[in-house]
Symmetry: D3
Subunit: 187 residues, 6 copies
């Protein structure tokens, strides 16, 4: 099994029972433990803080569907050219949408994907935040409201886009390597 990053930070050994149970659930569901979790496992407080934030954003209650959140993950990661996140979340989009071409389009150039105007507006906001966050102003938020997004939805769009701007940078800064199994998912 390859190291999850370019740093020499081996996981706590043995893992605490709760962590081991979490990793076992990953194996059960995905067939493997995502390398991002293996990377954080050298410090359980860090792993828990990261996982809590990630899981609240991606799996927690929200006006955004799970697929919408994964679409944001992919376009932000494409903007930042993050290999790890494009592979992992590209797989999620392909699987959730049951549409491999959509996953590819979002990873390559989301402007060519056939998207509903509401979805396009959501992704445009996420990309603007990624490229030039200091230029976001009231009209940008107003455009989301015009497409029917509530203030709570806007929070969630911003939070998911912001999270992947963090996560992309951790992955790229540390040369995080995606598990090879992702490549075949949802093809």
């Amino acid at each position: 099994m390859t190291e999850p990053t370019a740093l020499d930070l081996p996981p706590v050994d043995p893992l605490p029972p709760a962590t081991q149970a979490y990793f076992d659930r990953c194996v059960e569901k995905l067939g493997f433990v995502p390398n991002v979790l293996r990377a954080y496992a050298f410090d359980i407080a860090k792993l828990d803080a990261f996982a809590a934030l990630h899981n609240d954003l991606i799996l927690g209650p929200s006006g955004l569907t799970r697929l919408e959140r994964e679409m944001i993950a992919v376009v932000v990661s494409a903007e930042n050219r993050c290999f790890y996140c494009l592979v992992a979340h590209g797989a999620a989009v392909r699987t959730l949408a049951a549409d491999p071409a959509l996953g590819e389009a979002l990873a390559m150039n989301y402007r060519v994907a056939p998207l509903a105007p509401r979805t396009r507006a959501m992704l445009d906001f996420a990309v603007l935040m990624t490229r030039a966050s200091a230029s976001v102003e009231d009209p940008d938020r107003a455009r989301l409201r015009e497409h029917g997004f509530t203030d709570r939805d806007i929070w969630d769009i911003a939070a998911v886009a912001a999270f992947f701007n963090m996560s992309n940078r951790m992955a790229s800064a540390l040369a995080m390597r995606p598990n090879p199994e992702y490549h075949a998912h949802g093809r």
Copy 2:
């Protein structure tokens, strides 16, 4: 008291006792509750996940001093031109370093600040991650090791820089307003 962001997401009312106690400690220590915490208080799970990650990164055990972590926060926020974070973390640098001019220099153009080469290397890495994370490669990490940073230190540099790339984007996307008290801190 002004709204903490441009969104209409009032805090849970009443706050759960643990949250109220946390906010009370802020008032005791800083004289006010930072608006970022008031902003997240519409959903306690989100507030807790954000605070856990922030506090682990800024206050948790690390080979980096508290000042070093705040310096990373400021140069990343300067790169992203995040008003909220520059005000709040600029104040922290001024206070921790007891050097108002250093805080200003880091917020305006960190290249002009009189920094030890090790500190400069740390900030260069944080800025590279911010501007062009996909271009980080082995020689960039090697440069940090040459300055005496351990792999654990490199993780922490990356994690703090990545966190503020998230936090800057939340603040700018939602027009988060810094508490006015920060401006006078450490002058």
Copy 3:
């Protein structure tokens, strides 16, 4: 069958026998006529000029292998975020290299791909030409020679990279749509 581009320029009908034979050979070999050829078929002189240049560059005699030329196509297309070319030439890299992960890495961020230094130098030159051609100078060509590339090889690297800077722009300017069959190739 969807239109190959956003323009209303139907193919010459009937196709001249030589063109029809060329298209038949495509169907035999790939299972379909690539949309780029269908797009040019409204004017046989244009189709022939394009195909002659493409085929000389990709299939003609060269010190570069077929895979090397396709790798250049993919990294240039990634730089330009050209959906059509990433799909079509990403498939070619996956198939020729028998390595799906390599194709993905080149399409997402070629810096993370495990490449021989010579290959990396070749791709760095192609990317430099794509991003900032006016900044190419003697030391850039010298670096290729140090990796063993001859002047003829340098011509070919430049010619392939330049060609895809043309081709990417035609595809994006006209909203060229990749044939859906490409997505499954080489997975």
Copy 4:
């Protein structure tokens, strides 16, 4: 006679009769053989493929005038800061328009040139394709149609702009040197 590029790739010697005849016609018409043709003459298949594409685009039947096509060549080459193409096609614009100042303005900053709105729209599209081809979308093509361009015209605008994005990169990557005679043309 100086070498046409920085590469040591001498022309086939003797040139095949058809090539020699082509070069003789150039001398007759221009007073010299353009260095771009001398550069390609190390491989007649490459020379022929390049010349066929170039001549179809610049001299072939089109809804665009010869001057319009040369104007696109100049603004694209200005965007890419390609010395060879600016010199050669700047001369063509000066001569065809009988207006030296127009040639200069297009080479320096086409926004200051006194252009008909239709011409300006054509050049804006060519510049957009050059700078950010992945961002071209339906409204960009619609704007050209509003100015009276047909779909065939749009193809030609795109094809000329794309061609010079190739040609500029070949010239810059190989340090192609313009024939000195161009400087005096059309002054």
Copy 5:
């Protein structure tokens, strides 16, 4: 007293009486001689030419208030990340506006400052000139006129913005150091 720049260019000694009187007036009014003046004092012709231009622009008759001119100075200097000018003119904005937070906002991200639309339009023009002067066109000037600016006002906006694009570059190119007294002004 530290050197005003990284160059070894000591002031004329003794200063001519008029220069000495000018410097004495600075000490009287500000408590010190601004380092920019000490820097130019190696050559009195250069000092006089610089001071004449600066004083005409900042203190001379104009439809713009003194505060408006200083606001332009700050946003241009923020765009160029000029430490010297941000410190010196940030202090001027804080003092003239009697509003420390406004000075900070303009120095960090002027888009978040609560500005009248007319002021915002003025600063947008100054920033556009700073970032991409070649793209300024008639509609940009028309927008200023719509906000009530006269042609003479537009000249002054342009002249102040242009001046600080010069001054920022002198300061950064020569590592000009701001007098430490500025940091405390207007807090």
Copy 6:
């Protein structure tokens, strides 16, 4: 005679005798009054301050030759795509160097011009100041010293480059139109 800019700011009428004499000398020497001077003539204090600074920098005593100063003017103006300054100072380079091709190369892409390493270093510094002044640091100044430039020379390089960053922006912001006579100079 066309208006010198897009603003309606007619010259003082009659001009003061000293200004009239200056303009008469221009006509004698160049055949016309440069439009930049006609533009400033609506306010004699502004005209005098501008002319004093310009003339000190371009004509005053310096370790840089007049041609070197004009070369800086051209590469800075090329970087900023300033039509007025490229036309006027391109003409000056062509005339002073008696080399039309050099003037063209500097205006189009100075990297292709055959320059002495010392001259190239000077122009690289001017371009760095133009593009990214905040990134200039000690090693950049040290490189100039290695090429034999004194600290006074470095001041002059910086001052000329900074001046044209001002002048380019005035010209572009106000749509300043170059006198047509320049186009033919030095061809």
